[in-house]
């Protein structure tokens, strides 16, 4: 049996093991492969940089623990950038667990910048209703949001009182893992009220968003863990996304080798027939 025939009968568990090694080893012994900044990510950074101090960013955490690996690093990086720029953050979630994940990041980063709940940031929790809710929200926040995530009346919070309608927002940043999510913000909120939208999505969703980047409906985009890693580089932050990029690159090379090998084996078998 020659090498190609042996490879064609390779146990798939060997491939799983190789992928596991390709992920674990670079994490234990980082190589430090370069992370290039792409245009859509730079546009998100530039947009946040262009906002005047005190502007309000609505951070919509539209994801859950299933996509935490891809979107949580972006959440931390964006919050850190906003606080550095002295922007105010208004967190809400179109997914039930989203606002809790937003809280996790806020509680970690806010103390570092001496930011206070109620004045510098608030979390109004999970807001169900998708498209219908977003259409009403832009007109009058008071119709939809009466209390924050802890049940505190929104009028008792300084930032809660400051946001009456979409006109008070400088930017909507959605961290989106599906439906409802980024498309709702673009099609329903941006189209009706004109507030600029930036997004961070799971890698699976990223290709679909390029049409909206091209049309200008979306200002910028962080696609998957790679997008988050690029953002961490821009804000000079060594986070989870950057740590994972060596593994990501090596596994991609490994997968390309597997695809090439698979095709060589296929051609060989066809030739024999």
């Amino acid at each position: 049996m020659n090498l190609i025939e042996r490879l064609s009968h390779l146990d798939r568990r060997v491939i799983f093991l190789l992928v596991a090694f390709a992920v674990v080893i670079p994490m234990l012994q980082p190589i430090g492969l370069p992370i290039d900044i792409t245009k859509p990510v730079k546009k998100v950074y530039d947009k946040i940089e262009s906002l005047a101090p005190g502007s309000i960013v609505l951070l919509s955490t539209d994801f859950d623990p299933g996509s935490e690996a891809e979107l949580y690093p972006a959440t931390e990086a964006i919050i850190e950038h906003c606080f550095r720029k002295n922007l105010k953050i208004y967190v809400m979630g179109l997914w039930p667990a989203g606002s809790d994940l937003g809280n996790l990041a806020l509680n970690k980063i806010a103390p570092r910048y001496n930011k206070n709940y109620g004045t510098d940031y608030i979390n109004v929790g999970y807001r169900p209703g998708g498209a219908v809710m977003l259409l009403s929200l832009g007109k009058n926040f008071g119709d939809i949001i009466k209390v924050d995530y802890q049940g505190t009346p929104i009028d008792l919070l300084e930032l809660g009182r400051a946001v009456k309608s979409s006109k008070n927002l400088g930017l909507v940043m959605t961290l989106s893992a599906g439906d409802p999510g980024i498309l709702h913000w673009i099609i329903y909120f941006h189209a009706r009220y004109g507030v600029p939208i930036c997004g961070a999505t799971t890698a699976i969703m990223a290709p679909q968003q390029y049409t909206y980047l091209g049309s200008g409906q979306l200002v910028g985009l962080l696609g998957g863990l790679k997008g988050a890693a690029e953002y961490e580089v821009l804000v000079n932050r060594k986070g989870r996304a950057s740590i994972g990029m060596d593994s990501q690159s090596i596994v991609h090379v490994l997968l390309v080798i597997f695809i090439l090998l698979g095709n060589i084996i296929l051609l060989h078998q066809k030739g024999k027939r």
């Binding site: 690996a69 673009i186 009706r192 998957g224």
Partner: protein
Amino acid sequence: MIFQTIGIWIAALLTLAIYSFLYKDNPFYKIAEYIFVGVSAGYWAVVLWFDFAWPNLFAPLIKQQNFFYLLPIIIGLMMFAPLIPKISWLVRIPLTFTMGVAMALQITQITQGDIFPQLQATFLPFKGVNVYTSITNLIIVIGVITTLIYFYFSKEHKGPLGLAAKIGIWFMMVSFGASFGYTVMARISLFIGRVYFLLHEWLRAI
């Protein structure tokens, strides 16, 4: 602190139990799978009650004595009408209502927020821009037109129409390839996230 440690151990062991399926199906995987299904069902039951039903329906009805809210309850209950054959026709009322609202929303907003801006984005200049932009714009326009031609089924795809449809297929293939690449990247990212959790939070190796 102790609860956090217990939580990390449970999460780590469940992660390993799920990944053990890659070797072969086993009882540890089954236990983790059943726990996940049970916890998810419980979680959604709580969310549906406390975030949907109670604040939007039952709280205004019971606390504020707003009896207008009986109407959505009655319409909602009609969804169960097919369980009783004699009054099964009642299900048409909530379905019609839901379809009407959804159609109104979709038609106005999809047109305003999706179709028109996307169409507008394909009206691109070839003159008065640099060569790179001009070529990019040309590719976008050809891509849109040829892909649309592929989905034109009223005439047989022969001659120039067939050629255009074939070019459309190539554009779609490139798009599918990009989507597949991103999908692979997403799956590896999720695995990286789990490995990071095991090495950082659980084993404290990094």
